[in-house]
Amino acid sequence: MRQIHEFQVDSTRYLDDHGKPLGELPLQAENTDRVLAAYRNMVLTRTFDSKAIALQRTGKCGTYPSVLGHEVVGTAIGQGMRKSDVFVPYYRDQASHILRGVSLTELLLYWGGDERGSAWKNCPEDLPISVPIATQCCHAVGVAAAMKIRDQSRAVVCCIGDGGTSKGDFLESINLAGAWHLPVVFMVINNQWAISTPRSLQSGAETIAQKAISAGLPGHIVDGNDYFATVEALDTAVERAHSGKGATVIEAVTYRLGDHTTADDATRYRTAEDLKRAWEKDGIKRLQNWLHDRGLWSPDKEKALQAECKQTVEKAVESYLATEAEPPTAMLDYLFESLPAALQQQREQIADRYRGGRA
């Protein structure tokens, strides 16, 4: 006696590579203000990104992970979330952070080696950037559980890369989200690479979205360079979470257009053709084309936006570069709520040493 159990994931795109609709667009396309705001955020993010890389190259910033190719999905996340939701990022979410209210100066401080870069004033509940891959997924379900324990109508959006989905944390967390019906959206940003490791070496699974099946969760694939497909998926999943229907896993398919970080050289492991083909699918250009075709955009507007973004970034850079380092004693001031007696002497030593007490 044999019985069959069936499962599925779907995959969605609305625009072709040039921004032409492939069919009917979702409701989200009608909210012109939101679409324009999205486009602006993508351009701002990209402007910031190239500046940050330049700062690193000139010794004014530390190792920095370019967000090139993630602007569309990051923007969709930022737009899909409500203010009172909690964002649980990884380290390549600049586009979302900006919409959540993290200042560009804070972002630069962070990558410039200053802890104050995570003391976010405008989104105090968002979790900080998580460097250890996939670990943030466990926090996300914890935050979502807290919301559920307190009967709040709030949601968590948690980001992770394709590489991260091989690590147990992701799988354990989506499993808990399924078992406990938690209000959380897992956004897998499949940019085809984990440093030098291609998507195909991460997993034998045909799609990453199908990992949702292991947790009894719905899994969806979207073209992560298609703003409409991505923001629709976010809106739906966030709404689902808010209305107590549980968690969703979304795989946003895109491409990491830059090096992994400024410490990496991607030419070692991928071909120029690959990269060229990926650029042809660039989501910003695609949305620009669509806006243009709809009469919502023009070369003048583009020029003005570029100038505005440049200025915004320059201002942030100035304020970043003008920020003095914390006194070294800060390294003990935030370890505990108040400094245990056992550490008082070390704090004095640091202060002494800094004032030249040692020499």
């Binding site: 649980v88 003391a119 976010w120 900080p128 466990c138 926090h139 914890g142 807290a146 354990e172």
Partner: protein, 334 residues
């Protein structure tokens, strides 16, 4: 708020019952306290430490989790950033290692990393230590691994009263606490404990017995053998000061150094293996801080530098009363 009795009743209870009493008290006092772990709700915990909590506070605040320690640790951290005060149980200390990354890289760092914006008021509880004839991995005492991580407190009660008071303190503490419960003495001793909601101070040693000739420094289950050794040594005319370190990190060096300044001699006793155990830090701190007071080197009585043997031979690994007496005789002879 809840049906749990919150009167200041005094009862003769065991250490594990004191843990349970403190959990009841903390949950009754503060709605933000939640408890999670494997088999802790319906079953009340494999050692019965959480028994009755689900009935008293409901399954929303008392959560049986899937079997995944990394997830338990990380989810507790997420909850804590929302202002909950999770108390997560690891069924045995030997199974906390899967959660190490979360403990080291996140719990200990969240406050520092965000410059105080977010913090982790959580407690990770685990029964630890050997001597209960358990299978492999059920006898770990690797407190040193946590003691070395800045940003954590590592607290070890050694009596029902201290279990009650220290666990309350740990739960109320705004930073992460690793709370290790010496399971060998979970039920070995009873003590009258008043359920008065009074916490004991963290970050401080407890001097259990005053003496002049030698300072015996220990924690956890070894406090038992140490007190027995002190008794026997008293009969021989040797006066021992016995200190329960209790919070092994951050270490209250002051109490230790004051005592050694008085006695001039120290013996450190712990069950963990010697190499790089917390005893090493205690010995090094004494050597550095009491150099001129010392009449003999601080000596360590510890487990051997090997894996705790399976239970047929575990008693050969564990420090015994005679070992402590032997070490005291050795330092006294100098």
């Amino acid at each position: 708020m809840s049906k749990v009795q919150a009167s200041a009743e005094t009862r003769d209870i065991t250490l594990v019952e004191a843990v349970n009493m403190a959990l009841h008290r903390a949950m009754a006092d503060d709605d933000n306290v939640v408890v999670l772990g494997e088999d802790i709700a319906t079953n009340g915990g494999v050692f019965r430490a959480t028994v009755g909590l689900k009935e008293a506070f409901g399954f929303k605040r008392v959560m049986d989790t899937p079997l995944a320690e990394n997830l338990i640790a990380g989810a507790a951290i997420g909850m804590a950033t929302q202002g909950l005060r999770p108390v997560a149980e690891f069924q045995f200390m030997g199974f906390i290692y899967a959660g190490m990354e979360q403990v080291i890289s996140h719990a200990a760092r969240m406050r520092n990393r965000t410059r105080g914006r977010l913090h982790c008021p959580l407690v990770f509880r685990a029964p630890f230590g050997g001597g209960i004839h358990a299978p492999e991995h059920h006898s770990e005492s690797t407190e040193a691994l946590f003691a070395h991580i800045p940003g954590l407190r590592v607290v070890i009660p050694s009596s029902p009263q201290r279990a009650y008071g220290l666990l309350l303190a740990a739960i109320r503490n705004p930073d992460p606490v690793i709370f290790l419960e010496p399971k060998r003495i979970y039920r070995a001793v009873t003590q009258s404990v008043k359920d008065n909601g009074e916490a004991l101070p963290l970050d401080t040693c407890f001097t259990l017995r005053e003496g002049d000739d030698v300072t015996l420094i220990t924690w956890g289950a070894c406090v038992q053998e140490t007190l027995q050794a002190a008794d026997k040594l008293a009969e021989q005319g040797v006066s021992c000061e016995v200190i329960d370190v209790a919070t092994v990190s951050p270490l209250d060096r002051e109490t230790l150094l004051c005592s050694v300044a008085k006695t001039g001699r120290a013996v450190i006793i712990h069950e963990a293996c010697r190499n790089g155990g917390v005893g090493a830090e205690v010995a090094a701190s004494i050597a550095e801080g009491a150099f001129l007071d010392l009449q003999a080197p601080a000596v360590r009585v510890t487990g051997y530098d090997t894996i705790m043997p399976y239970y047929r031979n575990e008693q050969h690994y564990l420090p015994q009363v005679e070992d402590i007496i032997g070490a005291v005789e050795q330092v006294i002879a100098l």
